[in-house]
Symmetry: none
């Protein structure tokens, strides 16, 4: 009978407004007023807000072609979801090049979604605090990664090293870590990367470091490494992609953003260091030869 299964609630109301009774119209107007949020509570709540009885609400839902009030509400939910979930940045951007099912597209969508989710979840206070800690020249910094995240620690180290002194990249091999811990002093900062397949050694390291008064910063995934319980600040990123492995793209994004933030904090000293570094590179280049 209803060919209009996919009409919005608002459309159905407008379409059938003439057939509605007095109490129903009152309800309809109220629902359209703060649409669609006003229809989100229980039938009782909706009825009260509109000043009608619950049966009226149930009846109108039927009249509009739904099985009942819950069905109408479900429709409102999905409309809301469609509205809220980003209008601009989906799909359309690269589709022209690769067919819809191409791994490049699927991967890209997953990564973009990971970015969004991560950004929504990130705690700016933590982020700022991390940048602050890493900008403090009195604190030495130690970076460490696991089997997969090693490259993140490496990247982090490479850039931090340019901006300040007292930065150490810990060897990936955990049986060398005791020596690093030996050098850590209270207030120093340990930056660790630990994602799914969490490494037990990192957990132990965090515990030991923490017990010696070291500030522990953790880059981990959405589920959170167990080492999180020792972390002063945790930066979680989404890592799931259509692959047998996890994606570190968003983690890298966070690392680079932190680096940029630190650079902002310390720009006065950093810019001189960078200049000197450039000069050093130029000089050494002149000595190098290949084959």
């Amino acid at each position: 009978m209803d060919d209009a299964e996919n009409l919005t609630v608002a459309e159905r109301i407008r379409q059938q407004f003439e057939d509605l009774t007095r109490a129903e119209r009152q309800l309809a107007n109220c629902m359209l007023e703060d649409y669609p949020v006003s229809g989100l509570g229980s039938i009782t709540a909706v009825a009260e807000t509109s000043g009608v009885s619950t049966p009226t609400v149930a009846r109108m839902a039927r009249k509009l072609g739904f099985g009942g009030f819950p069905q109408m509400q479900a429709q409102l939910h999905s409309e809301l979801k469609a509205t809220i979930s980003n209008p601009i940045n989906k799909h359309d951007l690269w589709a022209e090049n690769a067919p819809g099912t191409h791994i490049l597209n699927r991967f890209a969508e997953a990564v973009m979604e990971n970015m969004r989710q991560t950004l929504r979840q990130i705690n700016p206070t933590d982020f700022n605090a991390v940048a602050q800690l890493l900008s403090d020249p009195k604190r030495d910094i130690y970076a460490v990664g696991g089997r997969i995240t090693r490259s993140m620690a490496d990247h982090f180290f490479t850039h931090m090293q340019v901006m300040r002194s007292g930065v150490t990249l810990m060897a990936p091999n955990s049986n060398t870590w005791a020596h690093y811990v030996l050098n850590m002093k209270e207030g120093d900062v340990l930056v660790a990367f630990d994602i799914r397949r969490y490494e037990h050694d990192i957990l132990r390291l965090a515990e030991v470091a923490k017990s010696r008064g070291v500030t522990f910063i953790l880059f981990t995934d959405q589920w959170g490494s167990p080492a999180g319980k020792f972390a002063t600040h945790s930066l979680n990123s989404r890592i799931e992609v259509p692959s047998a492995w996890d994606s570190l793209v968003v983690t890298l994004f966070l690392v680079e953003a932190v680096i940029a933030a630190v650079q902002n904090e310390t720009w006065d000293e950093t810019k001189d260091r960078m200049k000197i570094l450039e000069e050093l590179f130029d000089q050494t280049k002149m000595f190098k030869k290949f084959i």
Copy 2:
């Protein structure tokens, strides 16, 4: 007890994320995923979507400081109402957390834009060809990076090594490279990373390798490394961000996408290798100790 009566659900989740248990984290992630719409259904619906039990949902609501699930949902309703009725903050997915000019936001926007540009520009034919080449077990693979891109080469190597044999990560120090070239045979693949501040040594390496019949794959930036002229396939990514350095986020995305593509190509052999690797890890773990 809670001075934080007026925190959003999302904020409360973030604040207490560390205190949440496994099932609760799973739920929390699901709720943040389509926030706040995902938390709008009945407790049963929310539980089912997240794959946890209803008591878990009720418990978490309590843990976050609400009287119960209905109270939490009421809070979601009012948040939603505030969001919807305020056209300004609409759809800005992370804006709620950090003010508009926060480095995190600016960085994110730049990276997203880089992704889009890169994807629009990428040549799927090149991409596929690269995946094909790297999946060919008869070709040995050599990976090399520069000062900044070293971590990309490292990441690439770590994953390729799992999928197949005959993969070599070249030391970053260019005066060791001659030895690697000595081992390269015709048809082998050299994968190099070279971005702005292009390194002269990479150019020379590419030239020499090419002259010996080695297939050269280059990951570079939007402007293209000079080594590009020796490249069989070039994968360019946008790297500009509001920072003194360039961003490797999109480069990493391409690397991971290539890895995923290779994995697809070689899944039959790869899955066995991965299984064996897992077993090896389990075994070696038993021998390890820290401090």
